[in-house]
């Protein structure tokens, strides 16, 4: 292995960083080295290629070829623009945080439903607050060496959100982070979210990403969760970007003793999209569930890449990812379960199922178990296939027409994932969202079966 890494001569990211350094005079002193470390990590590896094991199924050449510009200044969002976006919880009572191209939109956000003792402020404000000591927390739980997009986020993030839920506080009202991309060509957004759930606290966090127009943009948010002992976080991330766009998200969670971290993913948009998820199970007796559904058609590529790091004994982790792929879409799943030597009595389960609705759709799945403890239960399974002819026949003998039978089975396949969402209102609304999206698939009603 040679240490020299080729950066293309006119790397737009390096140029953009120079511009940022000139503009960014008022930052707290720790932030400049923080950004530089992110950029250095990016410079060390550049953007990944298919030769990188972690990216071997995901060709990001279209991203490499575009000279993206980070969105350094906040744009202004008209309230009316929100109405056109089919995000769930329309009728819900969620506290709402709105972002445009990575920048917090205070006017359109509504925090009044959150309890007073929650610390909630924009990331721009949070980094300036010395008492929050973000210099010691931000980036503490991220890993950049295998994820240049998280490195770029560290280098370029301008805003986002900071949330600290105090000990024992159980928040019934869901918190909805709505991220909108203007959708201008070559625009890049790097929102940064930091969420800490104190001991015995509880919260539901919905994060959804939408586009205001169908341009070729990049959205690369990074979210860090710190889930303290016996806290309970349910996180639901919806990705509904432009079909031309690139969505490269990073989610990191550091989970404490007897805590619950349930993180759900619904991926629908983007030409190339990827969730890079890494959870560190850092206390005994906790439960971590990563549960995802990806729907892709046309020439979309939808990738979910996760590392679950069992660092303490007696933890349960489950990863369930189902993909429904039509036309020439590609699904990629890479699930690595790492069981450290100390992590005895680990119970880790992983499944990835892919339903191909057309003959041109493809799925790549790569389970990876890395186990250093000797008393553990780890299982994984993957399937790639078409609808079950036997089930269709059975339904038809009961008078259910073929097209309806097929829809029932596709819906059921998606339902396996959606049903794991605990929050009832969100679950029901997402069921509708999924159904609406599937109805746009060319082969939803006329599935080719073997």
């Amino acid at each position: 292995m040679t240490e020299t890494v080729q950066i293309e001569e006119s790397d737009s990211w390096l140029e953009a960083f120079e511009a940022l350094e000139h503009a960014d005079k008022d930052s707290p002193t720790w932030l400049i080295p923080f950004r530089k470390a992110g950029l250095a990590q990016y410079a060390k590896t550049g953007l990944p290629t298919l030769r990188d094991e972690d990216w071997r199924f995901t060709n990001i050449d279209p991203i490499r070829k575009t000279a993206f510009r980070p969105t350094l200044a906040p744009g202004i969002l008209e309230a009316a623009m929100l109405d056109g976006i089919p995000y769930p919880l329309k009728t819900g009572n969620a506290a709402r945080l709105v972002f445009l191209d990575g920048h917090f939109q205070r006017e359109l956000s509504d925090m009044s439903k959150l309890p007073q003792n929650v610390t909630s402020l924009s990331m721009k404000d949070a980094v300036a607050r010395e008492d929050l000591r973000l210099d010691q927390h931000l980036g503490q739980y991220t890993y950049h060496h295998d994820n240049p997009f998280a490195a770029l986020n560290a280098a370029f993030f301008q805003d986002g959100f900071y949330l600290n839920i105090p000990k024992n506080l159980q928040i019934e009202t869901p918190l909805h982070i709505i991220h909108l991309s203007s959708g201008n060509d070559a625009q890049a957004s790097f929102a940064r979210f930091f969420i800490r759930a104190g001991e015995f606290s509880k919260c539901t966090i919905l994060e959804s990403h939408h586009a205001l127009s169908e341009g070729i943009y990049l959205n690369a948010p990074t979210t860090e969760f710190v889930v303290e002992n016996e806290a309970n976080i349910e996180h639901i991330k919806i990705q509904d970007e432009s079909k031309q766009a690139f969505h490269l998200a990073s989610v990191y969670a550091h989970v404490g003793r007897a805590a619950q971290f349930h993180s759900h993913y619904l991926n629908m948009g983007g030409r190339i999209s990827r969730n890079n998820i890494r959870t560190k199970l850092n206390g005994e007796g906790l439960e971590c569930v990563l549960n995802g559904l990806y729907l892709a058609d046309g020439d979309q590529l939808s990738d979910n890449h996760m590392i679950v790091d069992h660092s303490k004994p007696h933890c349960d982790s489950h990863e369930y990812f189902n993909g429904i792929l039509d036309d020439k879409a590609r699904g990629v799943f890479h699930g690595r379960i790492l069981v450290q030597q100390i992590a005895q009595k680990t119970d880790a389960k992983q499944t990835n199922k892919n339903l191909l609705l057309s003959n041109d759709a493809t799925a790549d799945t790569k389970p990876q178990l890395e186990i250093y403890a000797d008393d553990v239960k780890c299982t994984h399974g993957a399937t790639i296939g078409q609808l079950d002819d036997e089930a269709i026949y059975y339904l038809r003998t009961r008078g259910v027409p073929k097209a309806v039978a097929q829809q029932m089975l596709v819906h059921a396949f998606a339902g396996e994932i959606i049903d794991r969402i605990h929050h009832e209102l969100i679950r029901e609304e997402l069921d509708e969202v999924v159904w609406t999206r599937l109805e746009k698939f060319a082969h939803f009603q006329n599935v080719s079966t073997t």
Binding site: D388, E390, Y394, R396, G399, V400, V404, F413, G415, E416
Partner: protein
């Protein structure tokens, strides 16, 4: 008993993957009748049930099947169901994620729609379905569960009969419904089938053993062997087969007439 013909099978030949399994079946079932088809393993019993129900993948090599005066050959399985045909599966399929209530509502309303009847609304449907569920002694929550998922063998068979009761077919074909049932479950299943008996409907009971026929008493018994019906007789034929096995019938059939 009326003599209205419901099912008429004429010289039916069918096979799968180039292998001929049914070699000329003739069978006529009238309204009000219960027929039993018995036969050793591999005689073609399940193939016959599948071909009647419209399973894809079978090659029809010759002959006709008429149901209620209509040619079944060009009809899809769901169209046959709409016409009043029902097949109780030997191995009911587990379908994860498809809720039993949701499925049944769709099945019943699609059938009603095809027959030009008004669809049931949610309240009418639930009332209707609960009255049917009582008959079959099914686990209380089964309507909320995924179709057949986690059901025991006996529960699956009872669910078949429950669906049959709900769909109220003109003719039901029961493909080895007795296999895997203990005597109590067998009685429940038979009771469900007997409730469907009437002057306008018919049942075709396919079984390897005579046991089920103690509870669903047939009017006519046929013996299927090597793709042909080799003997037809009254209900006592079933007892004879139970006592003496199939060999004597096969020998008798092989003797030149």
């Amino acid at each position: 008993m009326s003599n209205k013909s419901l099912l008429r099978i004429n010289n039916l030949q069918a096979g799968v993957e180039g292998r001929t399994i049914l070699k000329g079946i003739n069978l006529e079932i009238n309204a009000g009748e219960v027929h039993a088809i018995m036969g050793p393993n591999g005689s073609g019993k399940s193939t016959l049930a599948s071909v009647i129900a419209g399973r894809e993948g079978y090659e029809i090599l010759g002959g006709e099947i008429e149901f209620r005066g209509e040619d079944l050959m060009d009809m899809e399985a769901d169209e046959r169901a709409h016409l009043g045909l029902f097949l109780a599966f030997q191995y009911p399929v587990e379908i994860p994620g498809v809720n039993t209530t949701y499925f049944l509502k769709s099945a019943i309303n699609e059938t009603r729609k095809a027959r030009g009847e008004k669809e049931l609304d949610a309240v009418e449907f639930l009332k209707f379905i609960k009255s049917k569920a009582k008959l079959l002694d099914l686990p209380e929550d089964f309507l909320k569960r995924s179709l057949n998922v986690g059901f025991s063998g006996g529960e699956k068979k009872r669910n078949e009969i429950f669906q049959m009761a709900a769909l109220e077919p003109v003719m039901a074909v029961l493909d080895e419904t007795d296999s895997g049932l203990d005597i109590d479950a067998l009685k429940v299943v038979a009771n469900g089938v007997n409730q469907l008996r009437g002057p306008e409907s018919a049942q075709l009971v396919i079984t390897h053993y005579q046991r089920l026929l103690d509870y669903i008493v047939p009017d006519v018994v046929h013996v299927l062997h090597d793709g042909r019906i080799i003997k037809t007789g009254p209900k006592e034929l079933a007892h004879e087969l139970e006592d003496k096995g199939y060999d004597w019938v096969i020998k008798e059939a092989e003797q030149p007439a």
